[in-house]
């Protein structure tokens, strides 16, 4: 099958590097970053484009926009991995809608549009007979949606608990291990490249809440939004509080929680047993799923990273190729 890739940040590059390094039967016919685009129906030389991007900061022609690639390139699956916009999901949301209207499948790591418009996008995709997959939006490499939709098919998912933000988990781990203050641990997270210059989005629990909204919408189709999440961040935590928790063989972690029957959606620091499966170290992510048949299943893995997130995208691409396409 043919794919077009929109966005050449860390995730986009990870996807292209993987495609260049592994023969998995997908050819790239369109590529775009924020400044340029490139279309070649006979298949793009990925290594050449990556090299050019590294040298010039552009992947293609300045006269070709991302929307041109979405509208005109000859592809079966759009890989939308441009930077996320949590406010209105744009421009990625328009790219996705345009592609779906062209009866193209969409695979994305973009949280904004999925959190804001999942129901609408899913309905549109259904109408056009194409797939919309977004494994990479939650917990990076961890295949939570494959697990829920395929592996746990037929189960009634009752609740989901997750450690969904690697930055917060890193900060809390370091506060617990070394007795660092929140400010010291945040500084360290920045130096390690785990935290942005403006950490608000992570430490106030907004990122985790967006992922929780995506989980709830995907699993239950309940159309909840970010405003429905009861949210408390980790920025007021003290090392003393963690020590008090540790005296009872517990620790404190930022837990995202969604419950089907009560409709509860909550992101908050919680006291949790140290030997609880959700207590993972460093920047790892973990998700526990509670179901009627399988009971409890916990997945743990890398929540971020270029190649790690590409893994989730490749998984979605091959899922679509197997279900809808003929593998060349």
């Amino acid at each position: 099958m043919k794919i077009a890739v929109i966005g050449l940040g860390s995730v986009g590059r990870g996807v292209l590097e993987t495609l260049a390094g592994k023969n998995i039967g997908l050819s790239v016919t369109g590529i775009a970053d924020s400044k340029s685009g490139y279309i070649d129906p006979s298949g793009i030389d990925i290594k050449k484009v990556l090299m050019q991007k590294k040298k010039t900061g552009r992947c293609g022609d300045a006269g070709v926009t991302a929307m041109d690639v979405v509208r005109e390139a000859d592809y079966d699956i759009l890989v939308e991995v441009s930077p996320t916009n949590a406010t209105d999901g744009e421009p990625a949301l328009s790219y996705m809608k345009t592609a779906i209207k062209r009866k193209k499948h969409v695979v994305t790591s973009n949280k904004g549009p999925i959190a804001l418009a999942y129901k609408e996008l899913k309905a549109l995709a259904k109408k056009k007979g194409v797939a919309l997959r977004h494994e990479a939006t939650v917990a990076g490499a961890v295949p939570v949606f494959h697990t829920v939709e395929q592996g746990l098919a037929g189960n009634d998912i009752r609740a989901v608990f997750g450690v969904l933000n690697g930055t917060c988990n890193y900060i809390l781990t370091r506060m617990a291990e070394e007795g660092l203050t929140y400010e010291q641990a945040l500084l360290e997270a920045r130096e390690m490249g785990y935290a942005e210059a403006d950490p608000t989005y992570d430490v106030k629990g907004i990122d985790a809440a967006i992922k929780l909204v995506i989980l709830a919408n995907t699993i239950w189709g309940n159309g909840v939004t970010l405003d429905d999440v009861d949210r408390t961040g980790i920025d007021r935590l003290t090392p003393e509080a963690i020590r008090l928790a540790e005296e009872g063989d517990c620790t404190i972690r930022l837990i995202a929680e969604a419950d089907k029957s009560s409709g509860l959606l909550r992101v908050s620091p919680r006291i949790i047993r140290k030997n609880h499966p959700l207590v993972v170290e460093g920047s790892l992510n973990a998700i526990s799923i509670e179901t009627d048949l399988a009971k409890e299943i916990t997945l743990i893995g890398k929540g971020a990273g270029s190649i790690e997130t590409a893994s989730a995208i490749i998984g979605d691409l091959l899922f679509i190729a197997e279900r809808y396409g003929r593998r060349p």
Binding site: T238, L244, G248, I252, P269, R270, I271, R273, L278
Partner: protein, 163 residues
């Protein structure tokens, strides 16, 4: 526990049956009819051994039998939940915070640990709350949530029930 029931035939047996139903072991039954009492009620004291966490069930069964529980002895509060509160705990009247729970009559703060790094800095505390039933515990936690909001404290709740 001290029970009060109708003084009619079969009542005492009806009150004792639930105890064995929940796996309890009756150690002693003391009942005395007070000479002056004409209210048709019988007071009974029962000393018993109960498996852990079965008291709620027993309380429910006894209530169904129309038995009024006047008092449950030493181990009367069985649900425990530990929370952590962070903020200006002393300046926002910690004893009032605790009293909001203790004054409910259905829950109480049974343990308190505090850490105060410096006068002007926020302090951290760990509170263990006990209650008779799970519903009472939820009500107590709800009170703490609203107190925390009112006093600008950060309340950290446990993810799961801990014994």
């Amino acid at each position: 526990m001290k029970l009060e029931m109708k003084d009619s035939p079969g009542q005492l047996v009806a009150a004792l049956r639930p105890i064995s139903d929940v796996g309890g072991n009756i150690i002693a039954v003391i009942h005395q009819r007070e000479p002056g009492s004409h209210d048709g009620l019988l007071n009974v004291q029962i000393v018993l051994d109960l498996p852990e966490r079965r008291l709620d069930e027993l309380v429910g069964l006894l209530q169904k039998e129309g038995v009024h529980i006047q008092r449950i002895g030493r181990e009367r509060l069985l649900y425990r939940r530990t929370v952590i509160m962070i903020g200006h705990l002393m300046h926002t009247d910690l004893s009032d915070t605790i009293d909001r729970i203790d004054s409910t009559g259905f829950a109480e703060v049974s343990e308190l640990a505090m850490s105060m790094p410096a006068i002007s800095e926020r302090s951290s505390s760990r509170l263990t709350i006990k209650s008779v039933t799970k519903e009472d515990m939820e009500r107590a936690i709800e009170i703490l949530r609203s107190v925390s909001q009112e006093k600008d404290l950060l309340l950290i709740e446990p993810l799961e029930e801990m014994a």
